[in-house]
């Protein structure tokens, strides 16, 4: 066995070790390589950026924990962007496991330990204001603060449950739930995940069905995202945006060209682009996990390309290709 054959038959544990090292080091160092944005992501950002309190969006957490590294930063980025612009957000989950992802994503945006978080005011806490007929965001904030409530220093703003967000969560046969929501959201979700009656929520009274919603962003690690095209976009014309894993992203380019989706965030790169756009447009002060993860992905991609080149050099220089051809003839 010559050198090239030894190289071709290298113990794969060395490759695993190399990937492990190359993954961990950029995480520890934090290089922060610059990222340029693409039109696929810019279109989503611009769409959300033009919305205001009179609009509403759906953010669908249609992924399981396995793909959260890619999908979670996309969903969190758009929820944060919507909260910044006071756009009401309905949050849903396609699978039972994605319900947990929805709660985790919401927690990430509203966790006081993270600077720039959104301070939650639960539905019951501001019942007296609702009963007094105060339901617009600007009035709510003024009245709430007049009552002596002070926004913590590291918080970006208040978010009122039922005014700024509704955690709808998981419901069985979700594709039919989407279909049903084209007629009525409250029929499909009489209560939200916290047990609050949807019909009492100001944001629902202004947006009773998907027809009155301005955008549905589905963040998915499977073809679940297609249900939004089939049952919402094609039936009633709801604008749809995709946030999908990198391996899936190639599948959905036809939908961008046909105009069935307004844009797509593909993998961690897409999420990182959204974070960059948020910083450039003063939505957030700093980039997040996706941007940091791109350093790791850069190093990993580079290593895999090096491995491919080395594998090919060893294959051709060692004469393995000739043996392979002869074996084929035999």
């Amino acid at each position: 066995m010559n050198f090239w054959d030894k190289m071709l038959n290298i113990d794969r544990r060395w490759i695993f070790l190399a990937i492990g090292v190359v993954t961990i080091i950029p995480f520890l160092i934090g290089i922060g390589m610059p990222i340029t944005t693409t039109t696929e992501v810019e279109d989503i950002f611009d769409f959300v950026n033009e919305l205001g309190p009179e609009n509403a969006i759906f953010v669908a957490f249609d992924f399981a924990p396995g793909t959260q590294a890619e999908c979670m930063p996309m969903a969190v980025g758009v929820v944060r962007h919507a909260f910044h612009n006071d756009v009401p957000v309905f949050m849903t989950a396609y699978f039972p496991l994605s319900h947990g992802m929805m709660m985790a994503g919401f927690d990430y945006v509203t966790n006081p330990s993270i600077d720039g978080y959104y301070q939650v005011v639960e539905f019951a806490e501001w019942a007296h204001l609702r009963e007094a007929g105060i339901t617009t965001k600007a009035e709510l904030v003024t009245e709430w603060e007049n009552e002596g409530n002070v926004l913590p220093e590291n918080a970006a703003n208040w978010v009122f449950e039922g005014r700024d967000y509704a955690l709808l969560g998981y419901a069985p046969l979700f594709h039919l739930v989407i279909l049903g929501m084209t007629s009525s959201i409250a029929n499909q979700y009489p209560e939200d995940a916290n047990g609050n009656a949807l019909i009492e929520m100001p944001m629902l009274n202004e947006h009773k069905s998907l027809r009155e919603v301005d955008l549905a962003l589905t963040t998915a690690g499977s073809s679940a995202c297609m249900s939004w095209i089939t049952y919402a976009r094609e039936k009633i014309g709801t604008p749809i945006a995709f946030g999908v894993t990198a391996v899936m992203a190639t599948d959905y380019y036809p939908y961008i060209q046909s105009g069935q989706i307004i844009g797509q965030m593909g993998g961690l790169r897409g999420a990182a682009e959204y974070e960059v756009l948020m910083v450039e447009n003063d939505v957030t002060e700093s980039t997040g996990k996706a941007f940091r993860g791109m350093d790791v992905q850069s190093a990993d991609h580079l290593l895999i390309i090096l491995l491919i080149i080395m594998g090919n050099i060893a294959y051709f220089a060692g004469g393995a290709h000739k043996r392979h051809q002869m074996k084929g003839r035999g």
């Binding site: 709660m103 046969l173 499909q188 990993d300 895999i304």
Partner: protein
Amino acid sequence: MKRTVPLMIVMVGGILMMIQYFIPHQYSQVVFDNYTEWAPIVGAFALLLGVGSLTRVHSHRIKRKAPNWPYSWAVLIPLFGMPFLALIWPESLWGGSDSPSVFHFLFMNIQVPIQSTMFSLLAFYIASAAFRAFRAKSALATVLLLSAVIVMLAQVPIGEIFGPWLQNTGLWILRYPNLAAKRAIMLGVGFGILATNLKIIFGVERNWLGGAGE
């Protein structure tokens, strides 16, 4: 009877919903609203059926001490333990309602790390497979290999050190050749789904009935 009734339900339901889609009338909307309210409820019962079936299969495995039977406990304990924690003991680990519930704690600290770890392992296997299998053995394989290398580099920030041409070429591959191929595949799959659906609705395709009534 076991076959005729389900076939009739599928045929009537399928044709009704097909026609309904094209009729923008009040009665048509009533049919649609009723369907979308009932279907998830029926789906929830299917979930119960699934839980019952899973319990039966694994309890039999435990009783018979079938090969690897202890793993059946690993299915059954969380299957009933997690709903128990969610419904019967919804309080937090420390008693209050501010910190996460036991259910949420277990989900975030067992389920999430397990699934994330399994998915992360892909990176290691992809690297190993790329080294061993990605060879420029023919002209077509070389095109595939070069496209993959360009797209992989174009997707990451480090690719920008080679200049804007790399990212533009990567995006061009995704937006044109990739798109054309995907569209062709999707159209083929779409027509296939349409044909299969029509065969199911009109009772030509009956595999979904299983062995019932035979």
